[in-house]
């Protein structure tokens, strides 16, 4: 080849073509999406995220969770994601407009997490972030109490199950008094969710079906904040087959000074801290769980068909997929 000009022009031209074609034009097409709302301008989805959730996303990225967990649900024709109950509908660009970084993921050595927040027990589900600061941490605060009641069968040393009517109620009063272990009231949703029968626990795994692991007795309700903490700290205490490393470095073992912290993890067996010690999540761990609790694409989007009408009505409920939306197996 002779002459530099054609070479230079070609080199720049081909690259410019790709740059414009694959980044600039898509940016023009889907780079400025707004949240959707209904006619009255209410029911806005998605919403900007709280500070803890944003920080949690960075913790998630920094520890490489995205190398094993995807955050996208494929359409029913493209894969088994919806049949696996990872979501009611496929993910759409609008679901991600407030996320940064966007961690779609390219590997599923672990489950898809696009809707992990939607699976939380209803009481703990992070409310819409309009509330401002840190919705999920309230759930986190609520959980130890819930854990205590769910674990009444084998209370770890120093635990004090509080008789309360709901984890929400527990959240308002920190469980401090080291009292004698007493069985929790049966109407506690946490316990009910553990049994998998109460409507309040409808967000916990469906009664039948292998896609999700079963609720293990003696553990916090599945996908509650407390459950996430135990899972992060000791994955195989929840699921023997789990291939996830533990993230103990996100937790702190400390001596109990006055009373057990309301955040302390409810661990049993070899994971349990020695008498007089407790394991509490660091701020990063709380943010990480807040982020996961906020991952929820169950709100219907106009541009995407959901598989079930009831799924659209209640994000927390996971009814069996409507036959219409599913390909015949």
């Amino acid at each position: 080849m002779k002459g530099l000009a054609p070479l230079f022009l070609g080199i720049f031209g081909t690259f410019a073509f790709s740059w414009v074609g694959l980044t600039v034009i898509p940016n023009w097409q889907i780079g400025h999406l707004n949240p959707q709302s209904d006619e009255e301008g209410t029911d806005i989805y998605p919403m900007p995220q709280s500070g803890m959730v944003t920080r949690g996303a960075r913790v998630y990225a920094a520890n490489g969770c995205n190398y094993c967990h995807s955050e996208q649900v494929r359409a029913a024709y493209a894969g088994a994601d919806i049949e696996r109950k990872w979501g009611d509908r496929r993910s759409a660009p609008r679901d991600y407009i407030f996320e940064r970084p966007v961690l779609l993921g390219k590997m599923r050595m672990g489950q898809d997490l696009a809707n992990i927040g939607a699976r939380a027990p209803k009481e703990e589900e992070s409310p819409s972030p309009t509330g401002g600061a840190s919705p999920a941490p309230q759930g986190a605060a609520a959980s130890p109490g819930a854990v205590a009641s769910a674990k009444a069968a084998s209370p770890p040393p120093g635990t004090s199950p509080l008789p309360a009517t709901s984890p929400g109620a527990i959240a308002s009063k920190p469980p401090t008094s080291p009292g004698p272990a007493s069985p929790p009231p049966s109407k506690s949703p946490a316990t009910a969710a553990a049994g998998g029968t109460s409507p309040a626990g409808a967000a916990s795994p469906p009664a039948a079906g292998p896609p999700w692991p079963e609720q293990t007795a003696g553990l916090p309700p599945m996908y509650s904040a407390a459950w996430h903490h135990v899972h992060l700290y000791s994955p195989r205490s929840i699921n023997l087959d789990s291939n996830m490393p533990s993230y103990r470095f996100l937790y702190e073992t400390r001596r109990i000074s006055d009373a057990r912290s309301s955040d302390a993890l409810q661990l049993t067996g070899s994971d349990a801290p020695p008498e007089g010690w407790e394991i509490v999540p660091t701020y990063d761990a709380k943010c990480l769980v807040a982020y996961m609790m906020a991952l929820n694409q169950s709100h219907p989007l106009k541009e995407v068909r959901s598989t079930g009408a009831s799924a659209a009505a209640s994000p927390a409920a996971s009814p069996p997929p409507a036959p219409g939306g599913q390909p015949a197996k």
Binding site: F15, L22, R58, P101, M107, P245, Y247
Partner: protein, 492 residues
């Protein structure tokens, strides 16, 4: 074929070209000595670090409790650390070292402004060091191959600017009108990289694009880094080394032109096929799938060109380390592209999208193709910088076979594992954990291949160290892999 009369050293010296040309070449080689050796030495250091990290990453994936309690040793940090050490530490530095040497040779001028390169190498090392340290300490950004925190990225960019400006300056001082094929690729790589890197950084971190487009920009960057940076350097190097070692011109210049421009055009449009079935407009994915299929045109032309050049000279691979590594790499380029086409087809991708198969694909491109070509070029270049020949042919042979079997086993394990994993994942009547269970045996097999690669890299590093300390053979004959048996085979 009889080895007799096959020119194994400086084969391209035409009879007419006298001693002046050889002297001139020696002068040019001498002028590249310091900068290229700095790049190579750093690269080999990063290679060893990256290999150690890779071993941990591989073992930890099927033994999750191994060293999991220390924050900077957690799998999710070691994996990006490994990738970035290999991509920016090893592959980029070794690739730049080779590219610098080739540029000086092909511009037929002694290397000017060596300080630019020395400073570039220093900053580059600093950038990679800070970046990897940042990742291990929990500063990773989470975007594939752009995990370096911004303080490291800026240093890397400064370093790169120094190297690229050197390349452009050198080009201005070149002698001769003809621009050889290798120079097209190298010049293109040197110009594409800064644009690519700047575009990636700007669109993700400075003025971030909205939502899913971040993922699109991320994969656009990663794929183009693979093709337009590593691929271009690798192909350019192969276009130099193969004809040079066998002493025969490239089969067809015309084919090379077609191959280059179709490569530039089509491979730069790939990337979105990795996002298949994701939350994107379908046209983006489809365009990239089409582009991936169209990359078969440059694959065919480049492959045909190399094959026709080598025609009749394949037995030389028995002797020449450079040729053996380079031809292995060039053939892997074809395999890499074919696998790329296969796993980008929608029907296949729905099975393999979220499985280990995509890891196989990256390793085919970065290791089986690029790294092997670069190993080949280092076996050619280092003796010319140091004035000593490689000490042990047996070590080179061991290096080659450990690398070849290692990467072959790894590719097979990851592809087969990916298929198994995908098949169980797409069968909703199986629990999800079954898909993870099903791939674990293959991951253990992959760890085995990792041991082979570790052995190979340590052998190479040891051998390179010997050369660096002047412990190579004093000889005018290059080190062959096998003794050249026939009489008179001793090249003059």
């Amino acid at each position: 074929m009889n080895a007799t009369g096959i020119p194994l050293k400086e084969p391209a010296v035409s009879v007419a070209a006298g001693d002046t040309e050889q002297l001139e070449r020696a002068l040019i080689d001498a002028s590249t000595r310091v900068p290229v050796l700095i790049f190579y030495t750093s690269a080999v250091g990063w290679l060893i670090l990256g290999t150690l990290l890779a071993g941990f990453v591989s073992f930890k994936l099927h033994t999750p409790d191994l060293l999991s309690d220390i924050s900077f040793l957690t799998w999710g940090r070691m994996r990006p650390a490994h990738m970035n050490v290999m991509v920016y530490g090893w592959a980029s530095m070794a690739g730049m070292g080779t590219a610098i040497w080739l540029m000086a040779r092909l511009c037929r001028t002694v290397l000017r402004y060596p300080l630019l390169l020395v400073a570039g190498a220093g900053f580059w090392n600093l950038g990679v060091l800070l970046g990897v340290g940042g990742i291990l300490l929990g500063d990773s950004t989470g975007y594939q191959w752009l995990e370096f925190p911004s303080y490291a990225a800026i240093i890397l960019f400064v370093a790169y600017t120094l190297v690229a400006s050197w390349a452009v300056l050198m080009f201005r001082f070149r002698r001769g009108e003809q621009i050889y094929i290798t120079q097209w690729y190298l010049l293109a790589a040197f110009l594409w990289f800064p644009w690519l890197y700047a575009a990636g950084q700007l669109m993700l971190f400075v003025v971030p694009v909205q939502g899913v487009l971040q993922a699109a920009v991320g994969w656009w960057y990663a794929n183009n880094l693979l093709f337009l940076w590593f691929g271009a350097i690798g192909l350019g190097t192969a276009y130099y080394m193969i004809p040079k070692v066998i002493g025969r011109p490239v089969y067809s210049y015309h084919l090379a032109t077609i191959g280059f421009w179709t490569y530039a055009l089509f491979s730069s449009w790939t990337g979105m096929q990795r996002l298949v079935d994701g939350p994107f407009p379908a046209w983006m994915v489809t365009a990239s799938i089409a582009a991936t299929i169209l990359t078969l045109i440059p694959v065919a032309t480049v492959g045909l060109n190399h094959h026709m050049t080598m025609q009749g000279y394949f037995p030389l691979m028995r002797y020449s380390p450079t040729l053996r590594f380079t031809v292995f790499g060039a053939m892997s380029y074809t395999v890499f592209s074919l696998v790329g086409v296969l796993i980008s087809l929608r029907s296949v991708a729905s099975y393999l999208n979220f499985t280990q198969a995509s890891i196989a694909y990256s390793h085919l491109g970065l290791y089986a193709f690029f790294t092997m070509v670069i190993f080949g070029s280092m076996y050619y270049i280092v003796p010319r910088l140091i004035g000593r020949e490689w000490r042990y042919g047996s070590l080179i042979k061991l290096h080659f076979w450990a690398s070849a079997y290692g990467i072959g086993l790894m590719t097979l394990m990851l592809l087969a594992g990916g298929l198994t994993q995908g098949a169980s994942m797409e069968n909703p009547s199986l629990a999800f954990s079954e898909s993870v269970e099903s791939v674990l045996p293959y991951l253990r097999g992959r760890s085995l291949s990792g041991i082979l690669l570790t052995v190979s890299h340590f052998i190479f590093a040891y051998h390179f160290g010997l050369m660096l300390f002047g412990l190579g053979r004093k000889s005018t004959v290059p080190t062959f892999l096998n003794p050249v048996e026939s009489e008179g085979a001793e090249p003059h």
